[in-house]
């Protein structure tokens, strides 16, 4: 006899459950669609946080003298640079994959549904710890854009330790999600679905997960060394210790460089699926498309080895052969899309506008890369900021938002609003172009990056910074429209069509 009331639980049955199980609350759900939605929600939250801080930085740069940010520029900058790629872009793709991949491969759920819930909540908690690090102090010991960690003793060490620990937790969460998705795609495909028949987004997820599984751990190793050095007051990363600057660069960038490309890879697959859906026919050559996506993932590792011999900046803004090679598979995919669009009759849809916007933005970035190579732009100018915002942030954001639009029926059972989507595309594309143009032009003129204030600026520089601020405002506006669009769909808003999943 039970002495106490048993806690409410679904009754265990004699056979493994064959009926879908009701979801439980948000905090306990293991349903992959809900988890995907939660990932997307938190990712957008972090985007707003990182984006608003970025806007503050831009406003600061637009006027001469230190006005808005005071002493906190380095802190805010580090916040912006850490939060936006790692706490927004990557989890957005994980969320879309979590919600979409099982359906695409014909599985009922992920291989380990509760493990994905663990990955989600670890990401949220880890992200919270990273944000807490910035509230507690200034994590000055390391930065993702710093090529060399700087050891600073004293007051900032708790903040630095929290930053390192928080990032470690977020990385572990990403690793767990990658292992889960990899195992799902390898073992849970529907009977009779060989890899060659995998939908492109699932294939891209597989390729991404495979690279992340071997790349993230080296970053964790680097974080471990950094933590030991910072927390125990050591001299591992001190300037005098030979070889450790390169060690940090390698351990950081073996993950960091491919990550930058892997943030675009699922987007390329989504764009291919968008083209297929809107023209109503498969891509002209699926095998080549799969090969291109795989090649993109493999070559993303090549971009790392390129500049690593320099003891300073590994990320070279100018043209470099191995980095450029990555463009080849992307180019192949674009050609396939164009070929498919020609064959079929595409329906006008906001997702296609997103793809076109992406193409325009990328071409803009490529053009500037060629110009920069010809003009011999130095590393460390505003050009790199512009390029990052165009190619590393803007392009993946466009594809990411396109993915949310495209898969909304599967994720929420309803489509997003087309009209608002069109507005999003215009605002985002316009904003990224303007913001990027401003920084590119500043770079050609030699303005430095990562500074709170341009010392002795030419008058044109301040004008360009103001232009950049206008661009940033457009981007922020476009993001808000997107968030509103999603929110209205989640709430079942008027005008969002019901689409059977």
């Amino acid at each position: 006899m039970t002495l106490t009331e048993a806690p409410p639980q679904p009754a265990p049955s004699a056979e493994p459950a064959s009926e879908p199980v009701a979801g439980g609350s948000i905090l306990t759900t293991a349903d992959h669609r809900r988890l995907g939605r939660l990932y997307i929600g938190f990712a957008l939250l972090f985007l707003l946080a990182g984006g608003i801080v970025g806007g503050l930085l831009q406003v600061e740069l637009a006027g001469s003298g230190v006005q808005v940010t005071g002493n906190a520029f380095a802190r805010l900058f580090s916040f912006h640079a850490t939060v936006t790629p790692l706490l927004f872009l990557a989890p957005l793709w994980v969320g879309v994959a979590t919600a979409v991949v099982p359906g695409q491969i014909g599985a009922r759920d992920l291989a380990f549904p509760r493990l994905q819930a663990f990955a989600l909540w670890s990401y949220v908690v880890g992200g919270g710890v990273v944000v807490a690090a910035y509230i507690v102090g200034s994590p000055r010991g390391a930065g993702l854009t710093l090529s060399v960690p700087v050891r600073v003793a004293g007051a900032s060490s708790t903040a630095t330790d929290l930053w390192i620990a928080g990032l470690a937790v977020v990385s572990i969460a990403a690793l767990v999600a990658a292992v889960n998705l990899l195992a799902t795609i390898v073992t849970l495909r529907a009977d009779g679905m060989p890899f060659s028949s995998l939908p492109l987004f699932s294939w891209a997820t597989f390729a991404t997960a495979a690279v992340l599984v071997v790349a993230i751990p080296t970053f964790l190793g680097g974080l471990l060394l950094l933590y030991l050095d910072q927390h125990f007051g050591g001299s591992f990363f001190a300037v005098g210790t030979r070889g450790t600057q390169q060690v940090w660069q390698h351990l950081l960038w073996l993950f960091g460089r491919p990550e930058v490309y892997l943030l675009t890879l699922p987007g390329l697959a989504v764009a291919s699926e968008i083209v297929e859906t809107q023209t109503g026919r498969p891509l002209v050559n699926r095998n080549v498309a799969m090969g291109a996506l795989g090649g993109f993932a493999i070559l993303s590792l090549g971009a790392w080895a390129a500049g690593a011999s320099a003891s300073t900046a590994v990320v070279l803004p100018t043209y470099s052969a191995l980095t450029a090679l990555v463009a080849a598979p992307a180019g192949v995919l674009v050609l396939l899309w164009l070929g498919t669009l020609r064959e079929g009759r595409p329906k006008p849809n906001v997702t296609l506008f997103y793809v076109v916007a992406w193409l325009l933005l990328v071409l803009f970035g490529v053009a500037n890369t060629i110009i920069a190579a010809a003009a011999k732009v130095n590393a460390g100018t505003a050009w790199s900021t512009g390029h990052l915002h165009v190619v590393v942030l803007g392009a993946p954001v466009l594809l990411g938002f396109a993915a949310v639009h495209h898969y909304a029926p599967r994720i929420w059972g309803r489509a997003l609003h087309q009209g608002m989507g069109g507005l999003e595309v215009l605002l985002l594309l316009g904003g990224f172009l303007v913001m990027g143009l401003a920084d590119y032009l500043l770079g050609y003129d030699g303005a430095p990056w990562h500074v709170a204030d341009l010392i002795n600026p030419k008058s044109s520089w301040l004008a360009l910074e103001k232009l950049g601020t206008a661009g940033a405002a457009l981007v922020l506006l476009g993001t808000l429209v997107f968030v509103a669009n999603v929110a209205r769909t989640v709430a079942g808003g008027r005008g969002a069509e019901e689409v059977s999943a």
């Binding site: 009779g192 071997v214 190793g221 680097g222 030991l228 591992f236 060690v247 351990l251 073996l254």
Partner: protein, 196 residues
């Protein structure tokens, strides 16, 4: 949507049970890659440092060898457990599944002793930082592996894992083998490549 019609004749039922093993092996490989990263750092710093290992530091080969032998033995017992389970020898399976984390515990105990004996901290010098990084990564790997093995042991005890359903034990053993490989790499760094 509940009438499922299989279009192909059912293939051999291998895939469903492989999920756990695939996942834990891949996770083990991830843990191994942490050690790889540290090894790369070790090689670099060691080659460029004026003195290696740091002054007055000398690792006793006996301890290192004992640690390695312990891990190798534990891999053997892990595999023994899986094989015993496959042929239905429950007693052997339980014994081996208990021995393996037992070896793991002995390993951790000796690592603890090593750490107390070395006489430097992670902040003492670059060698110290690397040494403690290796130890921390290894301890985490071993602890996770022991967790898997103890779960396998408990579930075997509870008759939930057995000859028809060995995937939990298989997965735990696979992870443990990769952990052993990770320790061997650490051993090579700290002991075989101890001096320049």
């Amino acid at each position: 949507m509940s009438d499922a019609t299989l279009a192909l004749p059912a293939g051999p039922e291998t895939r469903k049970s492989d999920v756990l093993t695939v996942a834990t092996t891949v996770a083990g490989i991830a843990g191994f890659m942490v050690i790889v990263g540290l090894f790369a750092a070790y090689l670099e710093v060691r080659a460029l440092a004026p003195v290696w290992p740091a002054k007055k530091v000398s690792l006793d080969n006996y301890l290192g060898t004992t640690l390695t032998l312990t891990m190798l033995m534990s891999s053997v017992t892990a595999e023994w457990a899986v094989q015993a389970m496959k042929i239905g020898n429950r007693r052997h399976a339980l014994t081996a599944l208990a021995l393996t984390p037992g070896f793991g515990l002995a390993f951790l105990n000796l690592v603890w002793y090593l750490v107390t004996k070395v006489g430097f901290g992670p902040g003492s010098h670059p060698y110290g930082a690397l040494f403690y990084a290796f130890i921390a990564a290894t301890v985490v790997n071993v602890a996770v592996g022991m967790g898997f093995l103890i779960v396998a042991l408990l579930r075997t005890f509870g008759h939930q894992v057995g000859p028809g359903n060995t995937s939990v034990a298989r997965a735990a053993a696979a992870y443990w083998h990769v952990v052993t490989a990770g320790w061997v790499l650490t051993f090579v760094a700290l002991y075989v490549f101890q001096h320049r």
